[in-house]
């Protein structure tokens, strides 16, 4: 086995390794990330291995084996890696090889050799084999042997799990350059687009997969990402949506063939039912109806049926609602309001479902952009986000020595104070007695940080006051005044359109700022008529601040600074 490659010899890719699907991606010469199709043409490669007479199948071919060869087919194993048997959930493996306890780890009993003997294969070994297949597919595509990768993992992947994955990858000849969090990879994939602009925003990544759904609330500040909260749900995911369709078609089948039996009660029938239901589900993400067709579904009876999207959405409405609740719950855990969320990035295969995106859009304010294929024409493929993000990161660090990468990702580097409140200036609006806070630096921005703003001045110029403060975002709720009955006048035709909005008298929620703490005051004198003022704020790593104000295009300016807050005993706040 090759040891760590020196950076010069590295061929690095990005790998997204899910319980259900895996993807591989590389960056092209121009730095564009691209997901690689394997030899079967799949970009979403089922994370499944199957053994038939000693021959190994992976991906879609292995998945097909779930029908006839389920005992020698291993699926849904990623989350078992690095865990003891006690803490794993074997539920997803019900229709494939069952996990068993093996020493302190998890293993599968499968006939993986031509001899047909039942071998105990650890989850680590299974993972190695899976990664080797991924590596080979990538190498075939790139024309050179891949030997390194950035791999995405869930935000709650433990050190033990990462360690196990590192080893499993190494055994497959892949050096793990870095693990990056799946939701962060998704944000990076979006931010790496040429048209993307660096901005301060709160991004929610809803990664809706096969057997788990994960939501992360991320503060994106000047291109740096900090996770504020996460929520995980192992009870809602693509599998539950498959189940809805399985139940539906099983009932249809029973209705049609009274003597056919319940296809859910026979292992093979169940496997067929599941595979086709998943296919129907995917088809319903694009089309308004889909065909279900299985030869010899149960008792030798073929079955075909169709379902339209409306019906499906009705059947699955509870599960769709659960995704929305999960996202809202994560925002709540971050102690934020939906109004704080600028973007929701929908990631994971299940995120293709149009209804999930529209439900999220209606649960969040209009100011929140939902990035999903069905809500945004510029959205990236949700199934590809993690792998693309990993590939971009791989391209950024593949030149680095391993030691260098380790040091750069060290907590001494990553652990950083984040501002408790926004820092901004007080402006005038309407009533000149009460100022309006405008942020320059948002809360949860890591320090050190520098931000500047260009601010208008009173019409006549003259002397102005620059008051620098900390501001706290508040939510202002206004109950709508009972609408006066629209008097019959001019635009009568418009009234019809307004009818629906009139029914729900929803309260209006808005963001507003409260000044928490005045930090400094500065004066700029003798400004020209129509002048603009530039305010620059530099917050140092120790929370001391320097600030500089000047007339745009003018000479001189005012400079000042103030000290850091006193340290708190034992550091806790």
């Amino acid at each position: 086995m090759s040891e760590e490659e020196s950076p010069a010899q590295r061929v690095a890719i990005g790998i997204s390794f899910g319980n259900s699907y895996s993807s591989i991606a590389h960056t092209s010469g121009e730095g564009k990330a691209e997901v690689i199709a394997n030899e079967e043409g799949d970009r979403q490669i089922p994370s499944i291995l199957s053994y038939v007479d000693g021959e190994e199948f992976q991906g879609t071919q292995a998945k097909a084996q779930l029908v006839r060869n389920s005992k020698n087919t291993v699926a849904y194993f990623r989350d078992f890696l690095g865990q003891d048997f006690k803490s794993i959930d074997p539920t997803p493996c019900h229709q494939s090889a069952h996990p068993i306890q093996h020493d302190s780890t998890v293993a599968f009993k499968i006939k993986d050799t031509a001899e047909g003997a039942e071998n105990t294969v650890t989850v680590s070994e299974i993972t190695t084999r899976h990664i080797r297949r991924l590596k080979n597919s990538a190498s075939d595509f790139m024309g050179k042997t891949v030997n390194a990768a950035v791999i995405t993992v869930p935000t709650n992947f433990s050190d033990a799990q990462k360690e196990a994955l590192t080893k499993a990858a190494k055994d497959a000849g892949v050096e793990v350059l870095q693990f990056i969090h799946e939701p962060v990879a998704a944000v990076l994939a979006y931010d790496a687009r040429a048209e993307a602009e660096v901005a301060d925003k709160i991004v929610v990544v809803a990664d809706l997969g096969g057997i788990r759904s994960d939501v992360a609330v991320i503060a994106s500040r000047g291109g740096m990402y900090s996770i504020l909260a996460t929520a995980h749900d192992y009870d809602v995911g693509g599998t539950q949506l498959d189940q809805v369709l399985m139940d539906h078609f099983a009932k249809e089948f029973i209705k049609k063939h009274k003597s056919g039996g319940d296809p859910r009660e026979n292992d093979r029938s169940l496997a067929k039912l599941k595979l086709e239901s998943e296919a129907v589900k995917k088809a319903l993400s694009l089309g308004s109806s889909a065909n279900f067709s299985v030869e010899s579904l149960s008792n030798g009876l073929d079955f075909t049926s169709t379902i339209n999207r409306t019906r499906y959405e009705l059947l699955a409405s509870k599960i769709f609602a659960a995704f929305t609740r999960l996202a809202l719950h994560a925002v709540e855990k971050a102690q934020l309001d939906p109004l704080d969320v600028s973007e929701i990035i929908l990631a994971g295969g299940t995120a293709h479902t149009p209804r999930i995106a529209s439900a999220l859009q209606s649960a969040f304010p209009e100011s929140t952009t939902v990035l999903a294929p069905s809500t945004s024409p510029t959205a990236l493929n949700p199934s590809e986000l993690a792998a693309r993000g990993a590939a971009i990161q791989a391209s950024l660090i593949q030149e680095f020595e391993a030691e260098d990468i380790d040091q750069s990702t060290h907590p001494m580097v990553t652990v950083t104070p984040h501002l408790a409140h926004a820092v901004g200036v007080l402006c005038i609006s309407g009533d000149p007695a009460s100022g309006v806070f405008r942020p320059l630096v948002e809360a949860e921005t890591p320090v050190p940080v520098r931000r500047s703003a260009v601010i208008a001045t009173p019409r006549e110029g003259g002397d102005v006051l620059i008051k620098i403060c900390e501001g706290v975002r508040e939510i202002k709720v206004t109950k709508p005044a009972p609408k006066p009955k629209p008097a019959k006048d001019e635009d009568e035709d418009d009234e019809d359109d307004e009818d629906d909005s009139e029914e729900e008298e929803e309260e209006i929620r808005e963001k507003a700022w409260r000044v928490e703490n005045v930090l400094a005051e500065a004066a700029l004198k003798g400004l020209k008529k129509g002048a603009k003022v530039e305010v620059q704020v530099n917050v140092a790593a120790d929370l001391s601040v320097q600030c500089f104000v000047r007339e745009v295009g003018g000479k001189g300016g005012v400079r000042g600074g103030w000290s850091a807050p006193k340290p708190v005993e034992n550091g806790s706040i």
């Binding site: 006690k86 074997p90 019900h94 069952h98 306890q101 990056i180 969090h181 790496a192 901005a199 991320i218 291109g223 740096m224 990402y225 900090s226 996770i227 504020l228 192992y234 993000g389 971009i392 040091q407 750069s408 990702t409 060290h410 907590p411 001494m412 580097v413 990553t414 652990v415 950083t416 104070p417 984040h418 501002l419 408790a420 820092v423 000149p432 405008r438 703003a453 260009v454 601010i455 208008a456 009173p458 002397d463 102005v464 900390e470 928490e516 703490n517 930090l519 400094a520 004066a523 003022v533 005012v558 400079r559 000042g560 103030w562 000290s563 850091a564 807050p565 550091g571 806790s572 706040i573």
Partner: protein
């Protein structure tokens, strides 16, 4: 990053604002929160370059740096689990309606208070422990019955509608009201507070007012009982429905069972409303505060009545006193008047007598002055004329003047002097216009 553009104008510098070099520091930033920046992306790499400065960090540094980092992943839901009753583990999932879903998930302490998150985490813990595949691997022959119980419990508790139906009849969350005896041992607020807290879970209106304590105000207590007497409950009883036969064969029977269920639900709901009303009645009857407030009110009323009575009495007494005083003054006045009258008579009499005496003196002094006749006995005409004049004078002067005149004349023997005195008296009267000079010319001659 590009500068933010802000279109709202800056405020005008207030009159009298001054600072050295036009800048003054006022405060300091609030303490920051330690978080991990994700070591991802080009901007992070720039950050890392700045922060590392070619330094090398150790394992110790790693631990040190992470001490205060804000956690974003939940801790293991360890606190949720509770001991599992061996009898419960043998339950048959077919009888899922009879199972205590909260106990199955180890959430007996929480019940209707358990959050969705808690339920999910509890479920996961139980799945990890009781998954049949794991049991089989451990060589246990136990069937997957309890696992099915777990799945059923989760299904019910994660479905808001089903959960309400179960919570409606969750006896585990019921708190029996204390008896009268128990209550009277004291502890009314603690014992009944728990009862109302548990009953409050059925309220459509949340939050539910609390029972409070002996320091609660009358308004609070009144609000509390008003709330409970107008309780709006979401409690339903379909969970206790008899199973409706699922086959289409016997539609009449199906309808019959459905009707029966409807009636049973209605009946139970009515009974529940009555039960709650009785419960509130009982609490109200035992609530010392009600008595206290009534007594206070009573005392208040009594106090008012007594005050009123005292006031009337006082007013009556005052009036009586006033009347007496008036009578006394009247009597005094009358007495004085009478005395005065009597006095006046005497004085008049005395004056009359004095005047008589004085007149005699005056008349006598005329005689003394020989009737103003010079030399020898006065002729009769002279006597008459002198006496006439003197009488005339007397009629023209009052008693006092008479007394004064008398005093002047008293003891005077000299006729000239006497005449002189009379003459000046006449003169006075003439000047006063009471007498004509002609009438007394003999005196003035």
């Amino acid at each position: 990053m590009a500068a933010v553009q802000i279109s709202l104008p800056l405020p005008v510098l207030p009159e009298g604002w001054a600072a050295e070099k036009d800048f003054k520091a006022v405060g300091q930033l609030t303490h920051a929160t330690d978080r991990n920046i994700e070591p991802v992306g080009p901007h992070f790499l720039a950050h890392a370059r700045r922060k590392r400065h070619k330094r090398t960090f150790s394992e110790d540094d790693r631990i040190q740096a992470q001490v205060n980092v804000k956690k974003v992943e939940d801790e293991d839901a360890g606190e949720i689990s509770e001991p599992e009753d061996p009898l419960m583990l043998q339950r048959d999932a077919k009888d899922w309606k009879g199972q205590d879903h909260y106990a199955v998930l180890g959430l007996s302490k929480y019940r209707y208070r358990a959050t969705e998150d808690q339920i999910k985490r509890a479920h996961r813990k139980k799945v990890l422990k009781h998954h049949p595949d794991k049991k089989a691997a451990a060589g246990s022959t136990e069937d997957d019955s309890f696992f099915k119980c777990i799945q059923k419990a989760t299904e019910v508790l994660l479905d808001p509608v089903k959960r309400r139906q179960f919570d409606s009849v969750d006896e585990g969350a019921d708190v029996e009201p204390p008896t009268k005896k128990e209550t009277q041992k004291g502890n009314f607020y603690k014992l009944w507070g728990r009862v109302f807290e548990s009953e409050g879970r059925f309220s459509k209106i949340q939050p539910v007012p609390k029972l409070g304590n002996d320091k609660s105000t009358k308004e609070e207590v009144e609000h509390f009982y008003n709330f409970w007497y107008n309780f709006d409950s979401w409690r339903t009883f379909e969970y206790q429905d008899e199973d409706v036969p699922d086959d289409n064969e016997n539609r009449d029977q199906k309808r019959h069972v459905e009707r029966k269920n409807q009636n049973a639900r209605r009946k139970k709901k009515t009974e529940d409303t009555a039960r709650l009303r009785r419960l509130v009645d009982d609490a109200l009857a035992l609530d010392e505060r009600i008595k206290k407030f009534r007594q206070q009110e009573h005392a208040q009323k009594n106090k008012k009545r007594l005050e009123k009575e005292a006031e009337t009495k006082r007013l009556a007494e005052e009036a009586a006193r006033a009347r007496e005083e008036e009578a006394r003054l009247q009597a005094e006045k009358e007495a004085a008047e009478r005395a005065e009258k009597a006095e006046g008579k005497k004085a008049k009499e005395a004056a009359k007598n004095a005047a008589k005496k004085n007149k005699r003196v005056v008349r006598g002094s005329v005689k003394e002055a020989n009737y103003f006749h010079v030399g020898g006995d006065a002729p009769a005409a002279q006597i008459d004329s002198a006496l006439n004049i003197v009488d005339l004078i007397i009629t023209k002067i009052d008693n006092e003047e008479l007394a004064a005149l008398t005093a002047q004349l008293n003891g005077k023997k000299d006729a000239g002097v006497i005449k002189q005195i009379f003459a000046s008296e006449v003169k006075k009267l003439v000047e006063a216009g009471k007498l004509k000079e002609s009438e007394a010319k003999s005196l003035l001659a």
